[in-house]
């Protein structure tokens, strides 16, 4: 028998099996996930934010979070520079030039809220190996269960917005992130950050209603007087106020990004300058899951490869047994060739 040809034949068969397990065409492609019809969320309008940080304090209180010092030397102020495992919401200030003109690009300043965006197709949920991060099928809230979590921090690494944070300073550290105050909903209350916001910059409501409100604002003439709702958009629990419309950037951030988010954002300064990188419309989790399902859907491919491998291995182990018995005395013949 021609050893080389035999080897090539097997190499090709094996190679095809290997290629099959790893790079199949996307037979199980899945698109972006759909938003639950009753999904709730937030609308943050940077142009209305005055940087008072009432929401940062309210979030701490509502979630029973400890103080978070950004300097151990001067442990006086609970003023973290970014969200942490102990701070789910921060307001970041942006400025350019002299930083004197509110909501202006040149010599201007503006504020931006940083907290979980409650993605419609969240990377953190797709990443989590133990279902500790889940998306509520009704509200769409992306929630965390510390009792299930193994602390692998795959969600921390995966989130395109850098939201989930782990507490490295504790031997029993948990992941911390905004869960849209889901513990307040049964009490008939809603997101503490929205409830406390004096200007309505953070607004709570059904995502469908928030989206309509966002587009209403984008259509406003600059300077035209309009009504600004506050608190809960659905129940109108707080009195609205009247004021002139700013000049918006024509973009609802979160409408399309990574398949859409339940927190929508408006601003007068380009989002990229406010720390919001442009992101593709296809969600990363749908890409990852399409690949996984293609390779492992129903375990069809792995089992097929296992079947082939078992068959070949069985033949070769047997084959070895037969030929080895007579092969032993010819040992030196084999050796010469290789030396």
């Amino acid at each position: 028998m021609n050893g080389r040809r035999e080897f090539l034949r097997r190499a090709l068969a094996g190679g095809a099996a290997v290629a099959g397990t790893t790079a199949c065409p996307s037979a199980h492609a899945r698109g972006n996930a759909e938003i639950p019809p009753e999904a709730i969320g937030l609308l943050f309008d940077s142009t209305l934010c005055i940087g008072c940080k009432a929401c940062v304090a309210a979030c701490k209180a509502a979630n029973d979070l400890p103080l978070d010092y950004n300097s151990p030397v001067d442990a006086l102020w609970d003023m973290p520079l970014d969200t942490t495992a102990r701070t789910y919401n921060v307001i970041k200030a942006w400025q350019s030039g002299t930083g004197t003109q509110r909501n202006q690009q040149i010599d201007g300043y503006a504020f931006m809220k940083s907290s979980c965006l409650h993605c419609i197709d969240p990377s953190c949920v797709s990443a989590c190996p133990v279902s500790a991060m889940t998306k509520d099928p009704a509200t769409g809230i992306v929630q965390y269960d510390a009792d299930a979590c193994i602390g692998c921090r795959y969600c921390v690494a995966a989130c395109p917005f850098g939201i989930p944070k782990y507490d490295y300073d504790s031997p029993t550290g948990k992941i911390g992130k905004c869960e849209l105050c889901r513990h307040l909903l049964p009490e008939g209350k809603y997101a503490a950050c929205a409830e406390v916001c004096p200007t309505g910059a953070t607004l709570f409501g059904k995502v469908s209603a928030l989206k309509a409100e966002a587009h209403r604002r984008l259509a406003l003439q600059e300077g035209a007087p309009t009504i600004w709702p506050r608190g809960n958009l659905d129940t109108a629990d707080q009195p609205a106020w009247e004021g002139p419309a700013p000049r918006y950037v024509q973009h609802v951030y979160g409408e399309k990004e990574v398949g859409g988010t339940q927190m929508l954002k408006l601003a007068a300064v380009p989002f990229e300058q406010l720390g919001h990188k442009p992101l593709p419309e296809r969600s990363f989790s749908s890409q990852s899951e399409t690949l996984q399902h293609t390779l492992y859907g129903g375990l069809v491919l792995p089992l097929a490869v296992l079947g082939v491998m078992s068959w070949v291995a069985r033949r070769n182990v047997k084959h070895d047994d037969e030929t080895d018995a007579r092969g032993a005395q010819d040992a030196h013949a084999g050796e010469k060739r290789h030396d």
């Binding site: 050893g3 290997v18 193994i150 921090r153 300073d169 390779l295 291995a313 040992a331 010469k336 290789h338």
Partner: protein, 396 residues
């Protein structure tokens, strides 16, 4: 399994306490001390991990690279049992041993890194199963493969302890475990690449591609052969045994073949995605990309002809450089090419590095103790292996 007909493996014998094993022991103790601090005070007390870089070298070196280095067993077993290259049989046991250690340690190493390690079992419990998660699949494969490898390796212990009956029974079904032992690491090594896909644009275009699973798998197979070259040369030097050149020389050729396929896939993908331009930017990522590529290309130069492949020093360096290429591919994809936004940086702390060194020390120490006391390496004074393929080749 057919070891009893090939050159019988035998314990190497000799002293267990040597300068090498002593150094390993010290490194292991240091790592244990640091881990004690880590478990009492938390990950932040000993590592430089942060929320911008939640995965550091404990994940990338101990688990991702450690398990790739442990692909020798899988690569050789494929060659012997799937491609029926029986002449490589004497390499199976030593390679499998190194794999067993590598994978077991990678599995244990995961626990050191887990922030809520007492929940570890959740990953194997159907109640918490998350089949969409790549990490879930990685964890299942690594756990199953460790069990399969211990079964594959158990004849060594059975021989030592004279369990003939058990061995015979096991031999009947061994082919199935051998098959599992090729499929599971294939799934696992490719999925280590897939882990990064959900990171999306946070991974630099030089490394982010839907072909990551294929790239990681192919590189793991070549690393498997490189590790065998590296280990065989090292074991020969350390134990003053003759080098199995008649096996290593053709093995090096196979390694170059798989490496060529890898390079074609790697660069084909970069060209097809139009990402190769990023390699000519003046930044750290581009520099590291070329360093990685140089390591992968160097074996083609070092081992280009049959004469050079008969030179043990070249085999050793070629193998080591290929392993380094694999290391760089993984470090680049997971850390250098990973960007969560401005303001974050990561470089491992000294205690973090010491734990990683300790992990590799356990591997070296375990390999030495087992090869000295258990029948793993081919008996030195026995006649060399003869196999059907070798005979066929010789009589042609």
């Amino acid at each position: 399994m057919t070891e009893h007909i090939h050159v019988a493996p035998a314990p190497v014998g000799g002293r267990l306490l040597t300068p090498v094993t002593f150094t390993c022991g010290v490194l292991i103790l240091a790592a244990l001390a640091i881990l004690a601090v880590r478990f009492v005070l938390g990950l932040g007390a000993v590592t430089h991990l942060n929320d911008g870089y939640p995965w550091g070298i404990w994940v990338v070196a101990d688990v991702v690279i450690g398990s790739a280095f442990a692909c020798g067993g899988f690569s050789i077993a494929m060659l012997v049992y799937i491609f029926n290259k029986g002449e490589y049989h004497p390499l199976v046991r030593p390679a499998l041993l190194a794999s067993l250690f590598g994978y077991t340690l990678a599995g244990v190493g995961v626990i050191f890194d887990l922030g809520r390690w007492w929940n570890f079992w959740h990953i194997l419990s159907p109640a918490y199963a998350s089949p969409n998660s790549v990490m879930f699949e990685v964890a299942l494969c690594i756990s199953l493969y460790i069990v399969v490898m211990w079964i594959e390796f158990s004849p060594t212990f059975m021989e030592k302890w004279g369990m003939r009956d058990a061995r015979r029974k096991l031999n009947k079904v061994m082919f199935f475990f051998i098959a599992l032992g090729t499929v599971l690491p294939m799934m696992h090594q490719s999925s280590l690449g897939s882990l990064l896909i959900v990171f999306g644009t946070q991974i630099h275009p030089l490394w982010q591609t839907m072909l990551l699973p294929l790239i990681f798998l192919l590189s793991a197979i070549t690393i498997g052969y490189a590790v065998v070259l590296f280990e065989s040369c090292l074991a020969a030097a350390g134990y003053r045994r003759s080098i199995e050149m008649h096996l290593l020389t053709p093995l090096a050729k196979i390694m170059l073949g798989v490496l060529a396929v890898f390079m074609i896939v790697r660069f084909g993908d970069l060209l097809w995605r139009g990402a190769l331009g990023h390699a000519f930017a003046a930044n750290l990522q581009a520099f590291m990309f070329w360093l990685e590529t140089a390591c992968f290309l160097s074996p083609f130069v070092l081992l280009r002809s049959e004469v050079q492949r008969r030179n043990p020093a070249r085999l050793f360096i070629g193998g080591a450089l290929l392993m380094l290429g694999g290391v760089l591919l993984r470090i680049n994809a997971f850390l250098v090419g990973y960007d969560t936004g401005t303001g974050w940086s990561y470089f491992p702390s000294v205690p973090e590095l010491l734990v990683t060194f300790g992990m590799f020390a356990i591997e070296v120490l375990g390999y030495i103790v087992i090869t000295r006391r258990f029948p793993v390496l081919p008996r030195e004074d026995a006649p060399p292996t003869a196999t059907p393929a070798a005979l066929r080749a010789a009589t042609r």
